[in-house]
């Protein structure tokens, strides 16, 4: 198969080869994570923290996969030429969405059990019976509808991810037809509408309903902005890693492509800051207790430090680090900023989720880190599996050659 594949590749990209190192690292990571998670699961006192930690890790891998799916859809929507050589990496992360769906099953099972009420207060019937507001929200915040929504979201995301990835992989073998490209371009516009609605409501369900009294209409956009930064950081790290390990072939990804990734990353770093500040300022200005308590909790005690750190890690440092033109073509700089931004996403999600569990001060222990390690390890395992089976570049795309010639 590989020989036949190799001939249609016009010698740009070497055929896939095993990535043992990456797979072993991922196995170790997920094994450690799974051991920690299991230990916590069988202990009554640690189980609540495990629940929050699992949600933390789940939302992280979810944002990586869905953000990448958005990236793929966006490139088709605007018929981008430059991104053809990096799109396969995004498709790879988008294709992991079925694993994300699988990793949601434990959360759902947890919600159906008694423990779920410690994660989502609106699951606690006793609590709801004393709370007029939560009773009003019951038509939306109830377990059957919550589960049905999640199922619908994942069905749509998996559907689009399979559609985009399969059509792209199909092009690798027989590159005579432009039909798959046209089909994907046509599907990308409805995808954007579906993506906008599902992402907003999924972030309401999984993050905002942790504090069911609180509401913010911009919340979906806030989660979206962090999600795209995460996806771009992952795409950049993977692309640079593939290039330096020689899997990408020589001269496939050049300065121009890196520059565009850097520009997009810079733009979405600014976009995140814009949205985060918009949300903060309106609540701060209005100063209405039913909204402001969410921020008051995050700006008091030990959480103040996390809130300030969030602004520094997610905006100030990456903004300054990516500001100059030469920084956006410097692989080392891009790599470190990307890793920094991934840490920023974890910090952001920690800031969103954990004050619910530790209201007084931030606490981080093995109970929270275990599931994150496990889910990230599984994602890396998926990546290594994908790279062993498929080309890291969509060489069959009709715009591939044009994309190679892209430079700034």
């Amino acid at each position: 198969m590989s020989a036949e594949l190799g001939q249609s590749l016009n010698d740009f990209v070497p055929p896939p080869k095993p990535c043992t190192g990456l797979r072993n690292a991922a196995l170790v990571l997920s094994a450690i994570g799974a051991a920690l998670s299991l230990t916590a699961a069988f202990n009554e006192t640690h189980r609540v923290r495990l629940g929050f930690g699992y949600l933390w890790g789940f939302v992280f891998v979810w944002s990586a996969a869905l953000g990448s799916l958005f990236f793929v859809g966006l490139q088709h929507l605007v018929r981008a030429v430059w991104s053809v050589v990096v799109r396969r990496v995004a498709e790879m992360f988008a294709a992991s969405i079925w694993l994300v769906a699988l990793s949601f099953v434990p959360i759902l099972l947890y919600c159906f059990s008694h423990g779920g009420a410690s994660l989502f207060p609106w699951l606690d019937a006793e609590h709801v019976s004393h709370d007029a507001l939560l009773q009003q929200k019951q038509p939306y915040l109830n377990l059957p509808f919550f589960a049905a929504r999640a199922a619908a979201f994942f069905a749509l995301w998996i559907g689009f991810a399979v559609f985009f990835t399969q059509n792209s992989l199909k092009q690798d073998v027989g590159r005579s037809s432009v039909e798959p490209a046209v089909r994907m371009r046509k599907a990308s516009a409805p995808f954007m509408l579906v993506f906008a609605v599902t992402t907003t409501f999924a972030s309401f369900d999984w993050l905002m309903s942790l504090e069911p009294h609180w509401f913010s209409t911009i919340f979906g956009v806030y989660v979206f902005s962090g999600m795209v930064v995460t996806a771009l950081a992952l795409i950049t790290i993977t692309t640079i890693g593939l290039r330096s390990s020689g899997r990408l072939g020589s001269g496939v990804v050049g300065d121009g492509h890196l520059y565009n990734l850097g520009v997009l990353m810079f733009a979405f770093v600014c976009f995140w800051a814009y949205i985060a500040f918009s949300q903060y300022m309106l609540i701060w200005y209005g100063n209405i207790p039913e909204e402001s308590f969410y921020l008051v909790r995050r700006f008091e005690g030990g959480w103040l430090f996390v809130s300030v750190a969030l602004g520094v890690v997610r905006f100030v440092v990456p903004f300054l680090a990516l500001l100059s033109r030469s920084a956006k073509t410097n692989p080392t700089r891009l790599l470190w900023v990307s890793i920094f931004l991934l840490a920023g996403q974890l910090l952001d999600l920690y800031w969103l989720i954990m004050p619910q569990l530790h209201p007084d001060r931030p606490i981080l222990g093995w109970q929270e880190l275990g599931p994150v390690l496990m889910l990230v390890g599984i994602l890396i395992l998926f990546v290594s599996h994908f790279l062993e089976r498929h080309l890291p570049v969509s060489v069959g795309d009709p715009l591939f050659e044009e994309s190679l010639r892209f430079y700034i």
Partner: protein, 189 residues
């Protein structure tokens, strides 16, 4: 319009495609010329590198002006609200910087945008009404399908014969002297 004196102020080399222009620009760059320019009907990628252009001071100017704008906005809003005319609004602290972040942002954008526009005019040499290129007929060709390199006679590397040889060496088939007409009637304009 009466008699006019002619003066050679440079040499123009015309090329038929962007890649030969790029090669020629590299040649001129390596020869050490400083007073020269390229003219093309559309943006040619990589020309800045081929010409050995240094990076523009514009980003630094824009950032500096933007930061001055932020400072101005801070003094304007904070000075008014906290010092000169203190009014407590909605129980907030006098110096409520959060409320004025949109103003800081807008002033950053305003100051840097105006600076970029102003320095663009300066860098493009606004204030000079005329260029000898306009009379040469070269302009009508390079807004069509041709590409030009202009070597200025005020370059210290320049001597007419050498410039011509240099352009010939880069494969140029169409070399013309650039002539300035000094018209006695309206020399001031």
């Amino acid at each position: 319009m009466s008699k006019s004196r002619e003066k050679v102020v440079g040499v123009v080399g015309l090329y038929d495609d962007p890649s030969s222009l790029l090669r020629a620009a590299e040649g001129v760059r390596d020869a050490g010329f400083t007073r020269w320019d390229c003219h093309t009907p559309f943006p040619v990628h990589g020309l800045d590198r081929a010409m050995g252009l240094k990076s523009s001071p514009l980003p630094t100017l824009a950032l500096t002006a933007g930061l001055i704008g932020v400072l101005a906005a801070f003094v304007l809003t904070g000075g008014l609200n906290a010092l000169h005319y203190p009014i407590r609004i909605a129980g907030k602290p006098m110096l409520s910087w959060q409320a004025f972040v949109p103003i800081y942002f807008e002033m950053f954008v305003l100051f840097s945008a105006l600076t970029i526009m102003g320095s663009l005019f300066v860098f493009c040499g606004l204030g000079r009404w005329h260029s000898p290129l306009h009379d040469s007929g070269v302009m009508s060709e390079i807004t069509g399908a041709r590409f030009a390199i202009v070597l200025g006679a005020d370059d210290r590397m320049y001597s007419q014969a050498d410039a011509k040889t240099l352009l010939e060496a880069t494969g140029c088939r169409d070399i013309r002297p650039l002539v300035q007409f000094e018209e006695e009637d309206d020399a001031i304009i």
